[in-house]
């Protein structure tokens, strides 16, 4: 009994971690700036590549992941400065621009670094429970997903940047009139989203194949989670990750991966019908 419960919790936690980590970067940029960042997958790829390179150069994995996140964040800020900044007020045009950026990034990586990169192995080994064995690293991923959510909450609610960012998002001209450098805020927010994507890439790098198009493997889960969650990171992404993770884990252990996927998709359709603005849209409406 304990084994079965543990097994299911493990699957649930695993799905939850993947969905939440996939989606936070996208959700921050989407929720805060109304930019659909189609280059999200490429930021993940960037973080993963940097992490693997750093780890192979001898850095401990945790530091390597940090490197990945920082580099992806800096690239994000650069992209914001060069391109996204000029498109505020035209949120829909950012789709075209970020799509272009994603093409450049994926194919550019292929040309410069070749079609694949040797991977690194998953650390921490495995534990066994009731005849089945589980990778310990996956438990670390679950903890990290929760830690990142907590950290984001603190950043947006307890730091000066967070408060200014929320002010900027709600009433931009007012914030500007009060002396907030809104351009800087947008720039940092975009960088934060990119850094989160980079961290996701770094975290999953040891468990995945390193190819220039690897970002695409995260995209669907990321979008699905954001759609179900709505525009708010805390009220949306986290509960959406939990609900979808539950659906996916239950369906997968019942009938296999295919049903896990179908379950996700049905959940999306149901949510679109019942809660058209996602979970956070619903919660916010209830609250107000």
């Amino acid at each position: 009994m304990f084994d079965a419960v543990f097994g299911f919790l493990y699957q649930f936690g695993d799905a939850f971690a993947f969905l939440v980590l996939c989606a936070t970067g996208l959700a921050v940029i989407f929720g805060m700036m109304w930019v659909i960042n189609l280059a999200h997958g490429e930021f993940i790829m960037c973080g993963a590549y940097v992490t693997v390179t750093a780890a192979r150069a001898g850095l401990p994995l945790a530091l390597a992941i940090l490197c990945g996140a920082v580099v992806a964040g800096l690239v994000g800020i650069l992209v914001e400065r060069l391109v996204i900044r000029h498109l505020y007020g035209r949120p829909l045009d950012t789709i075209v621009a970020t799509w272009g950026i994603s093409l450049i990034a994926a194919q550019g990586t292929l040309i410069v670094l070749g079609p694949g990169l040797p991977g690194i192995s998953t650390p921490l080994g495995s534990i066994s429970a009731g005849g089945l064995s589980y990778s310990v690293y996956r438990l670390v991923l679950m903890a990290t997903a929760l830690a990142i959510l907590a950290a984001l909450y603190l950043v947006f609610n307890r730091t000066r940047f967070g408060i200014l960012a929320r002010a900027t998002i709600q009433v931009p001209h007012m914030a500007e009139a009060l002396g907030v450098d809104t351009r800087l805020i947008y720039s940092l927010t975009f960088g934060l989203g990119a850094a989160l994507a980079g961290a996701t890439g770094g975290l999953y790098a040891p468990t995945m194949t390193m190819v220039p198009t690897m970002g695409a493997q995260f995209i669907m889960e990321a979008f699905v989670t954001v759609v179900v969650g709505g525009a708010d990171v805390f009220l949306g992404t986290a509960p959406a990750g939990a609900v979808l993770g539950l659906v996916k884990a239950a369906m997968t252990s019942w009938q296999g991966q295919l049903f896990g996927q179908i379950g996700l998709l049905i959940a999306v359709i149901v949510v679109i019908r019942v809660l058209p603005r996602g979970i956070s849209g619903f919660l916010l409406r209830e609250r107000s």
């Binding site: 989407f30 929720g31 805060m32 700036m33 109304w34 659909i36 189609l38 391109v83 000029h86 498109l87 007020g89 035209r90 949120p91 829909l92 045009d93 950012t94 789709i95 075209v96 621009a97 799509w99 272009g100 950026i101 994603s102 093409l103 450049i104 990034a105 194919q107 292929l110 040309i111 947006f156 998002i169 931009p172 001209h173 809104t182 947008y186 695409a216 995209i219 669907m220 979008f223 699905v224 954001v226 759609v227 709505g230 525009a231 708010d232 990171v233 805390f234 009220l235 295919l258 996927q261 998709l265 999306v268 359709i269 679109i272 019908r273 058209p276 603005r277 956070s280 849209g281 916010l284």
Partner: protein, 379 residues
């Protein structure tokens, strides 16, 4: 004043504030272009004709997106869902019924109707759920991705409709091309000169039809909604109905593209509903100039031809150059390349007036004004 003759009245309906190009000069040019397009197959080889039909196939989807995004201000990122649905619909109907007695034409009607019906249901949820702005894009994108994933896993023998196997990721093939019943033997429209004329005629009809539509009362209300949904509501228009109408017409056109594409290549796959495929129509429309039908049409054709040339001659660098072109277009020609070029002469004079409302959302600030912002605020 004497009542103007029929041609003039017809012409007036084709012109208006919502479309570029008016007056005898424009229409003479239009006739010249159509005439050139009609004479063109006489001078071109088989490949060029087939390839041009292929380009034309996509234009319907682009025009549909132009209507709902450019005119209606509602970005659908999921036009490919309707494209794919209609494509598979055509395959299912023709594989089951065969191509005799003009049944392929019936299949076209069925497939487009299916796409429209689905769009009506989806659009009802969306617009009557008051989803708008960027969120609409992300929801429609998810819908098309869901379709793609679902169709990709239908490889097993249990997935079939009648005799038509859905055939998973490899895609459905073997459906007949469009066939016109004709005394003395049906004409099968393989990608060659006859199909070229059929598709060209369709394109001209759809283009002119959409011009009439956007310059009609319906079109004007649609634009009013794009510019300011709140004001449109105050003036007594049911915003949701107009947007739903535009959405369904756009979906029907995407479905028409899907059918024509499927019949052209006798093949349809789930990847035509994937994220790459879904982004392409947006690219065409945005590069051409989404706020105008003519600009969209020209833009779509030039982007298609340009990207194909790049792939032919640019080898590995083609995708990078494409990406760069997209970013530069968005940065330097926000109205789209074609629209930008066409408006260049009168631009300086109108500069002050255009400021701030050149975009589909009609908002000057970074995150959309409250009425375009579906959640009405942050955390």
């Amino acid at each position: 004043m004497a009542r103007p003759g029929l041609p003039v009245r017809l012409l007036r309906r084709l012109e208006g504030p919502q479309t570029m190009g008016r007056g005898p000069l424009f229409w003479l040019g239009f006739l010249a272009v159509v005439a050139l397009a009609a004479l063109y197959p006489l001078t071109a080889d088989g490949y060029t004709v087939g390839n041009t039909i292929y380009f034309f196939n996509w234009c319907f989807m682009a025009l549909g997106l132009c209507l709902i995004w450019g005119y209606g201000g509602a970005l659908s990122f999921g036009q490919t869902a309707f494209f794919g649905l209609a494509g598979y619909g055509y395959g299912i109907v023709t594989l089951n019924l065969g191509a005799a007695h003009g049944l392929t034409l019936l299949a076209v009607v069925c497939a487009v109707a299916a796409a429209s019906a689905f769009a009506a249901v989806l659009g009802y949820f969306l617009f009557f759920g008051r989803i708008g702005g960027v969120f609409l894009g992300i929801v429609t994108l998810s819908v098309t991705l869901v379709f793609e994933r679902f169709m990709a896993q239908t490889a097993g023998p249990e997935w079939h409709v009648g005799v038509a196997r859905l055939n998973g990721f490899n895609g459905m093939s073997g459906m007949p091309p469009l066939t016109i019943p004709w005394p003395g033997g049906d004409i099968a429209l393989f990608p060659d000169v006859p199909l070229y004329y059929v598709v060209l005629a369709l394109l001209v009809v759809v283009y002119l039809g959409l011009r009439i539509l956007v310059n009609s009362r319906f079109g004007n209300v649609l634009v009013a909604i794009r510019e300011n949904p709140l004001r449109a509501t105050m003036l007594g228009y049911d915003v949701r109905r107009y947007q739903l109408g535009g959405f369904v017409i756009g979906a029907a056109l995407a479905g028409l593209s899907g059918v024509l594409y499927t019949a052209w290549g006798q093949y349809i796959t789930p990847s035509s509903m994937g994220i790459t495929a879904a982004a392409l129509p947006i690219v065409w429309v945005a590069v051409g100039g989404r706020a105008d039908l003519t600009a969209t049409l020209l833009g779509t054709l030039s982007v298609l031809a340009g990207f194909q040339l790049l792939t032919v001659y640019g080898s590995q660098y083609a995708l990078v150059v494409m990406g760069l072109l997209l970013v530069l277009t968005v940065l330097l020609a926000p109205e789209g390349l074609i629209a930008g070029l066409a408006r260049l002469p009168g631009r300086l004079a109108r500069r002050g007036r255009q400021n701030g409302n050149g975009n589909g959302n009609g908002n000057g600030n970074a995150n959309g004004s409250p009425n375009a912002n579906p959640n009405g605020g942050g955390a």
